[in-house]
């Protein structure tokens, strides 16, 4: 393990402090080596890789459809966005058409997943600052989202619900009512969080003016998502490079030009309200139809057909045992996930296994901006900044 030495010519009182990998405020197993001058941070050196499981290597040994469950495990707080990004990338290579209902359900689920991710961010961020109560409030709503996921996919976190060519199964009968019930009350819940935090003098003074990031630095250091928009860069993949039918939805992209932790807090709160609007539009306009594409060689047949039709049984057997060949080529699919821009780079050599799958996850790049945001500030602000950039170590280490 490399230990950071104080920089050449540093003052004698400089001290090297190890924060993590078990520190509760590092949101996982992030190790920060901090060089400090009294209480002032001089250098920040993030040491990562503790959660590295070689998912990219594992993908190369799996069939295309077997990669879907692996993607859940990269960012376990926003699982459906991962599924979606991978599925879109492979579908681009295959060139198959996805039924409208599946596309709309995907949008609905991606937004629910974003709410899930933002709720965890808000709860843990407030807890890091010392406002313990908010955590209990946000996890109450998150529990409802997880129950909806459980009813949908049979799993609370590792849903693997979005598959190549559509969805894994028809949503349950009460699904739309439950989602409607959830978003009917959710805007009030956001008001509740806001009442707890926005006027709270401790929370305000811990975040305002802390962790400033300029728009130039945000672009130079690869920061995306809410932290980038809080620095005044007006870009959202959902709006600017629409994928998965986002062009059919009306929503605002919140921007702030202040660039501090407070701005990131405000941007994410508005983003949650916008997500609710998108979910409402998806519920209102949900088209009828199939939930998966008509592509018997790629999409698994219905259980009923498999038991009664020889053709379907053969296709099922072939897909499970041999996978399906994907045309050779390389594609890059970018989406706006809860933490920022997620991108999947899939290279195919024409066989049933991906030649290379690379995941670009927002936290990995955003972590590079940590030093810029913390330099010259108080040691305690590091905790506030880590909370405000909303990192997930699973997606950093992969």
């Amino acid at each position: 393990m490399p230990v950071l030495q104080p920089a050449e010519g540093a003052k004698d009182q400089h001290m090297v402090l190890n924060m993590g990998p078990q520190h509760p405020a590092t949101h996982g197993v992030l190790r920060l080596v901090l060089e400090i001058d009294g209480e002032i941070v001089v250098r920040v050196y993030p040491e990562i890789g503790y959660l590295h499981t070689g998912i990219e290597k594992t993908c190369e040994a799996k069939f295309y459809q077997q990669v879907v469950p692996l993607t859940d495990r990269i960012n376990y707080l926003d699982p459906l966005s991962n599924n979606l990004c991978y599925a879109l990338a492979v579908e681009k290579l295959l060139g198959i058409e996805i039924p409208e209902k599946a596309t709309w359900l995907r949008v609905l689920l991606a937004e629910l997943s974003r709410l899930n991710s933002h709720l965890i961010w808000l709860g843990t961020h407030a807890m890091d600052i010392g406002a313990l109560t908010v955590f209990l409030y946000t996890f109450r709503e998150r529990e409802e989202i997880l129950r909806i996921f459980e009813g949908l996919a049979g799993q609370r976190m590792m849903t693997s619900y979005i598959r190549i060519g559509g969805l894994s199964m028809e949503p349950p009968l009460d699904f739309f009512d439950r989602v409607q019930g959830f978003i009917n009350t959710f805007p009030e819940k956001i008001d509740e969080y806001s009442n707890l935090l926005t006027g709270n003098p401790i929370f305000r003074s811990r975040l305002k003016g802390v962790g400033y990031l300029s728009p130039e630095d945000a672009i130079a250091l690869g920061v995306t998502g809410p932290p980038m928009r809080a620095s005044g860069v007006d870009f959202d993949v959902r709006r600017d490079i629409p994928y998965c039918g986002y062009e059919n939805f009306q929503f605002q992209v919140p921007i702030s030009t202040v660039g501090d932790c407070w701005a990131r807090y405000e941007v994410r709160l508005i983003e949650m309200r916008e997500s609710v609007k998108i979910i409402q539009q998806a519920l209102d306009g949900m088209p009828e139809g199939a939930f998966k594409a008509e592509a018997p060689k790629i999409v698994l047949p219905d259980r009923e057909k498999m038991k009664t039709q020889m053709e379907a049984l053969i296709h099922h057997f072939k897909i499970v045992t041999e996978g399906f060949a994907v045309p050779a080529g390389e594609v890059y699919q970018s989406i706006e996930a809860g933490h920022g821009q997620t991108g999947y780079y899939v290279v195919s050599d024409g066989t049933a296994k991906p030649y290379r799958v690379h995941m670009r996850y927002p936290s990995f790049a955003t972590l590079q901006a940590l030093e810029v945001m913390c330099k010259g500030k108080m040691l305690a602000d590091v905790v506030a900044v880590i909370g405000s950039i909303d990192i997930v170590l699973g997606e950093i280490d992969r």
């Binding site: 393990m1 490399p2 990562i48 890789g49 590295h52 070689g54 990219e56 290597k57 594992t58 190369e60 040994a61 579908e91 681009k92 290579l93 060139g95 198959i96 058409e97 996805i98 672009i219 130079a220 250091l221 690869g222 860069v233 007006d234 870009f235 600017d240 490079i241 080529g329 390389e330 594609v331 890059y332 970018s334 821009q341 991108g343 780079y345 290279v347 030649y355 290379r356 690379h358 670009r360 990995f364 790049a365 972590l367 590079q368 280490d397 992969r398």
Partner: protein, 166 residues
């Protein structure tokens, strides 16, 4: 979803997409450095000569491709040239991605570091160095990032087994 048109080879792309801002900028800068090009699945790929990659990146940056979205590598073992380093560059203005890539030979693969153009290349290049063993000249801190410092081998190379002993 109808399959978008496909263009293969340098001439087809430079003629078919002459008005594309990135193609235009690269041709105006140095058409010799553009080794190959293709337009597939609605995505533009420009293969650049390895020694000119940073200058090419600076050129497309000036043409509005302002954000380095992703940097990674592909191992084409056992074919030659073995390694491909891929740069996905996003334009906030043109609202699209382009892909630049360089091809490197197997013997001591190295390419100039992109950090002079985009400092965000830092972690990505360390990751590629760690998992593929490709060196980035001029990188200030080219150390392993995912694997332990004393690890032997580069796991994402194709001759590195997925399971079992090396």
């Amino acid at each position: 979803m109808s399959q978008p048109k496909t263009l293969k080879g340098k001439t087809e792309v430079t003629e078919g997409l002459a008005e594309h801002p990135a193609v235009k900028a690269i041709l105006a800068w140095n058409s010799e450095a553009l080794v190959d090009a293709k337009f597939e699945f609605g995505e533009l790929t420009l293969t650049i000569a390895p020694e000119a990659i940073c200058a090419a990146a600076a050129t497309v940056q000036a043409a509005g491709y302002n954000f380095l979205d992703d940097l990674t590598a592909v191992d084409w073992y056992p074919s030659a040239p073995r390694f491909q380093v891929t740069y996905h560059i996003l334009s906030h203005r043109h609202k699209e991605h382009i892909r630049l890539r360089v091809l490197l030979q197997e013997a001591s693969p190295a390419v100039e570091s992109m950090m002079s153009v985009w400092p965000s290349a830092n972690f990505y290049e360390r990751e590629v160095f760690d998992l593929f063993g490709i060196r980035f000249e001029g990188h200030p801190n080219l150390k392993r990032i995912m694997m332990p410092d004393d690890w032997e081998g580069h796991p994402l190379r194709k001759d590195y087994p997925v399971e079992g002993y090396r």
